[in-house]
Subunit: 339 residues, 2 copies
């Protein structure tokens, strides 16, 4: 029946109408008579015709493709976010062109440029920063950029994050309330806004309580680095009685190290993470953590990017989604606090 690509012209010929008529039948909102619609639909079905999205994109200037830059897929938070992003965007008729990039801004920039080559309608960067130069290029090219789970204050770029400073504070307050006084922090990567903000919140709460941090180390969001940090922490003559870890992914590593050393998290040393990925609630870890509501963050991101696509003038916002403490058993529960 169909050999190779079927075009609107072929459908037009078969239906006995003009090519423009075929186009109109497949263009939502365009006008066509009942009779034309019928003839065209029939011919299209017989031929197996479907409009070429790329051709449509060329003339309309809308590709309905959103570029998404990802990294850190080993941290369960991101695949989850990606999945929901994809589902939410698909539901609105957009699709995701994925690019992977790692830490360096240079790489992220290159990747974003490539995305622009594909005429994406918008760009979402998950946990990745781009240079202000490139942010400007995107702006002049009229391609909205939204940062997911990363802020970039200077850039004025729209972003969606959780309330990281407040979250860091909550972790500290919880640990303080639990009577800990040797609280270490294995921080999230200090080159990222999330890592810095969580640490800042944590430190300020400690300071207000007049407690000095037991130790402060950058765990870089990496499992093996976090393990090294944890080993160092428990090797010394005095140990911390609690560790606030910059994200769950590293907190699991810390708990593994503690247990290997015969220490029981929640009894011997309290561990608090950040993210509340599904694994945190699984029996093996049962991690107390600060929840980043991935659903709400994704929804806000989708809404924001579509908003910017549809109304080009829209003012960029930096949205912060509330983060809340999720109490489990990896850290001592203060009197009167409920699980």
């Amino acid at each position: 029946m169909e050999r190779g690509k079927v075009t609107s012209a072929q459908v037009a010929a078969r239906a006995g109408v003009s090519q423009s008529a075929v186009s109109r039948v497949f263009t939502p909102g365009a006008s066509a008579s009942r009779k034309t619609i019928e003839k065209v639909r029939l011919a299209a079905a017989e031929l197996g015709y479907r409009p070429n999205v790329l051709a449509r994109a060329m003339v309309s200037g809308k590709s309905r493709i959103i570029g998404v830059v990802v990294a850190y897929l080993e941290n369960q938070f991101y695949p989850l976010a990606l999945e929901r992003l994809s589902v939410a965007l698909q539901a609105r008729g957009y699709h995701i062109l994925i690019f992977t990039a790692y830490n360096s801004i240079g790489e992220a920039d290159a990747v974003v440029e490539e995305m622009m080559d594909y005429q994406v309608d918008g760009i979402i960067t998950a946990s990745v920063a781009i240079s202000s130069t490139l942010a400007n290029r995107a702006k002049t090219a009229q391609i909205p950029v939204v940062l997911f789970n990363r802020g970039q204050n200077d850039s004025g770029l729209p972003s969606v994050t959780s309330a990281n400073v407040a979250g860091g504070r909550k972790a500290a307050e919880f640990l303080l309330a639990g009577g800990h006084d040797r609280i270490a922090h294995i921080a999230g990567w200090q080159g990222s806004s999330t890592g810095r903000d969580r640490q800042a919140g944590f430190l300020s709460a400690l300071q207000e309580a007049g407690v000095a941090p037991f130790a402060l180390i950058d765990g870089m969001y990496k499992r093996d680095i976090a393990m090294d940090c944890a080993r160092d922490l428990i090797a010394g003559p005095t140990r911390p009685d609690a560790i606030f870890v910059g994200n769950d992914h590293m907190a699991f590593a810390v708990m593994d190290v503690l247990r290997e050393a015969g220490l029981v998290p929640g009894r011997d040393i309290s561990v608090v993470g950040y993210d509340d990925v599904p694994l945190s609630s699984w029996g093996a870890y049962d991690l107390t953590t600060i929840r980043q509501p991935v659903n709400r963050m994704v929804d806000a991101t989708v809404e924001m990017i579509i908003d910017h696509i549809e109304t080009p003038g829209a003012t960029p916002q930096q949205i912060e989604i509330d983060s809340e403490l999720q109490i489990r058993s990896s850290a001592r529960i203060p009197e009167g606090w409920k699980k």
Copy 2:
């Protein structure tokens, strides 16, 4: 400097050459004089010109986009595969358009059709099956399809899987060698080739040993179903002394249930999984499992799809990558077997 999109015509005007000359400078392999190249590169740089990939795709018929269908991103195996897939494809100048689909074939079909609308050069379906009708449409449209981690014998579609039957056998042989004789199987989804093959291998090894399976249940690759299965298994008057679980994702659930019931995996009940995702090696689980080498599977997939894209006539192959036993502590280690 640049306002909106810069086109090759603008670059041509500035460089004082024809539009075709500009195109040639940006087309690898096309001929242009040294002088032309210089003038064009300069003008392009000044204007911030980059070729419109979509326009190129229209005329060349090559979009350099590969459509990837994913599901089950909660199973760590897939984000990992996706990441490597993306990196490998990016390195070869391709990019990934992601579509999410869940179990129903109808949905997968719809998604694959949408991909074809985007004129993708090829399609990779990860852990998802499509109808033979659609497979045929893809074939007539000359769009190669490769199944990743799923076979579909009847379809004759190219596929890359691990040696699931052999893997299932290995799990059984290991458990048998360990002296277990009440071996249960919480199987992978029986609607999938992986689930069926692993079970088939497992059963055949048991049968050869003259051992009847203690129980056989479809865990559907779902965490909560696996938990229910595990609870049922340990609730009865006699318990299994080993459980082979259809994938690691479910095996973690099983281990969580066992521990909650005060049972120690590897001592009271042996647990063997399938996949060897990173989490399996983490201290909290230390799961004995059958390794699916994701790197090699991805490499084979990439090679295969590119092969089919570049040489349209290529004969479809079903590649099976060896799977091997990874011994850890979640299951009793038979005398003389090494970790």
